[in-house]
Amino acid sequence: MLRKYPTAQRFFAGGDQAASTALLGELVQRNWIALSWPTEYGGQALPLSYQYILWEEMGYARGGRPPLGAGIIAKTIMRFATEEQKAAWLPKIRTNSITFSLGYSEPEAGSDLTGLRTRAELRDGRYIVNGQKIWGNVSQADYIWLLCRTGESDSRSGGLSLMIVDRRSPGIEVRNGKFFDDHTFSQTFYTDVVVPEENRIGPESGAWRMMSAALADERHVQFSAGRVRRDFDDAVGWLRTHGLHTDPVVRARLIALRVRVAEAEALCLQVLSAVRNGKDASVAAAANKVMHTDVVQEIARFVMDVGGPDALVHARAEDPESIWRQTMTESVGGGTSEIMKSIVARQELGLAS
């Protein structure tokens, strides 16, 4: 199937979006974005290994990561939403007829989401939302999976709620800029945005626990080893094309990098193993995120280091300079490397980091 869409890629800006959309459409048609969903919600109830393999292959093919809707958002809805909410949202997510953007980070609350200020006040059966969010491409999403404060201003993690917000609601203004890798970076302003109370998922001010559970569900597929291997293979291909592959220094460094790729694969499988066994995967997932990020950055930096002026040419979305810029964003998106290291320090080593 992936061979039908050789130009599909969602990792780098400027790729063939039509092919990427067609590929996603075929995944939906085969019901593969709901591989591990329970059958009662229209899924295939297959073991997590299937999901792992699918997104491993998708990562290698540059096809993209799992859609937010079918992953983190659907899992949260299945676990915490009312039956009416499940009936309203899950079929549309499974068929990809609606898309989501995350509304988590704020200018003053990036890694420390417990300090976020966007506020939702319940008035007469509806929430009135005011605040500002940053990150992601909101302008192309149908809905925003919004994390906002419903508790007191000093309630930290205990005062946060999750709700689904129609991106076209009056009072929402999206200003787009660019990430370093050319992807769209949105700033979203909320001014008295009305959100029906039934769009809140889970208990009011009870979002923190829900978010942690959903992240643990998805971490084995969000940062797949397939993408890391593809970066390495592409690096080798580029060096060969440019006659650098015979340099003994280059070859020795490639061996070292290939070992790093294997380390990323090993950690990815550890996350899968923990999730399959019902164990807490948070440390393994954090370690995997750091390793995944470090290795793709090391590969990209190496090609730039030895590639000289040729590595500066931007002709295709997957050229070295493009990959180099994209990998920069990996150590921030999805939780910064510093936060991941603090998780490992705290939960594995017992350090008050």
Binding site: L54, G237, S273, A287, M291, K341, L349, L351, S353
Partner: protein, 352 residues
């Protein structure tokens, strides 16, 4: 005594329509792996830990005078350690990996990895049985520098891709080494070809990787305990990310190397061709993780981390010695590159 972790099987090995299922990586097409030890493995690991607590106390691990650890060796032999993965023994390479991790966590001395190498390189017979029984000690090295002369009676090395055994070597001079292991420059006698080095080398690599992982994990955990309690500038050292994050980074590298060592062990047990490349990768990964842990932990303890009596130095010496120990006349980079070229498609592109 050890049980194997079961790979693959069941629903996990079905096909997803026409999607190619092979992970194309560590499991060589197998789809599932369990990193969690089962009850039997846990119980047997506990037994080996109990043995080490009795026969491998810290003062033995700290021994730098180069005395062969006879009591420990006898206990390990009686336990059946060196018979692991042999036709007459129990378990497989996964169990060797598990044992390596535990022995590393005790910083156990002696030619452990060379003994596994010899058991799987020597032909069946009395000499091999004597090695398994702990009665014959093995010296594995790159001539003329060989370890344990005077104690060892089997002298092995690797020439190209073959194991060779030296008869009746003579000592030229003794040399002191970093970890205290007694090494000598030898005048070597006639040599005998023992066959392909691939399988013994893979077992050596897996064991060493696991040993380094076990020892490095111990170092990092102990350093973490220290910085969680040591107070400076009015708070614990662990509250400084400049202290805690390098330890976390070390922990991540150790975790990855450990996972790779286990994957390699599984692959060797399954007889996969790519197992040798994975085993070499695991060893390199563990070496890097261990060397990073050494540096981070020396630093975390401050002045005490720099002392000979402190908690790091004796581990540091042992691990550095293990990392530097070689026994082949083929440079490691060439050997690894050859393995990758033959069994990992990506680097095939580089070579040809």
């Amino acid at each position: 005594m050890f049980s194997r972790v079961v790979l693959g099987g069941g629903k996990d090995t079905c096909r997803l329509g026409r999607l190619k299922l092979s992970l194309g990586s560590p499991l060589g097409g197998r789809l599932s792996i369990d990193f969690e030890p089962d009850e039997t493995e846990s119980a047997l690991s506990d037994s080996l830990r109990a043995l080490c607590r009795q026969h491998c106390p810290e003062n033995l691990a700290r021994e730098v005078a180069g005395v062969f650890p006879r009591d420990l060796w006898a206990a390990l032999s009686e336990f059946g350690l060196f018979a692991l993965a042999t036709p007459d023994g129990f378990g497989g390479v996964v169990e060797i990996e598990a044992a390596g991790d535990i022995l590393g966590s005790f910083v156990a001395p002696g030619p452990l990895a060379p003994t596994f190498f010899a058991v799987h390189a020597l032909p069946a017979g009395e000499e091999r049985e004597a090695v398994i029984a702990g009665e014959t000690v093995v010296s594995l090295g790159r001539p003329p520098l060989m370890p344990w002369f005077g104690v060892a009676s089997v002298f092995l090395s690797v020439r190209g891709d073959r194991v060779v055994k030296f008869e009746e070597p003579g000592e030229i001079e003794q040399v002191a080494t970093l970890s205290g292991e007694p090494w000598s420059r030898l005048m070597l006698g006639p040599e005998k070809d023992l066959g392909s080095a691939a399988h013994p080398c893979a077992l050596y690599d897996v064991f060493v990787a696991a040993y380094l992982v076990g020892a490095a994990r111990k170092l990092v955990k102990e350093a973490a305990e220290y910085v969680a309690n040591r107070r400076q500038f009015g708070k614990t050292l662990s509250q400084f990310q400049a202290i805690s994050h390098p330890l976390a980074e070390s922990s991540i590298r150790v975790r990855a190397a450990g996972g790779l060592a286990r994957l390699a062990a599984h692959q060797v047990d399954l007889g996969l061709e790519r197992a040798y490349a994975t085993a070499q990768s695991a060893r390199i990964s563990a070496e890097n993780a261990a060397l990073k842990a050494i540096n981070v932990c020396h630093q975390s303890y401050g002045a005490m981390g720099m002392t000979e009596e402190g908690p790091v130095a004796y581990v540091s010496r042992r691990l550095r010695q293990l990392v530097n120990h070689e026994f082949s006349d083929v440079p490691r980079v060439s050997s690894i590159e050859q393995q990758y070229n033959e069994h990992m498609p990506a680097l095939l592109v580089v070579a040809r």
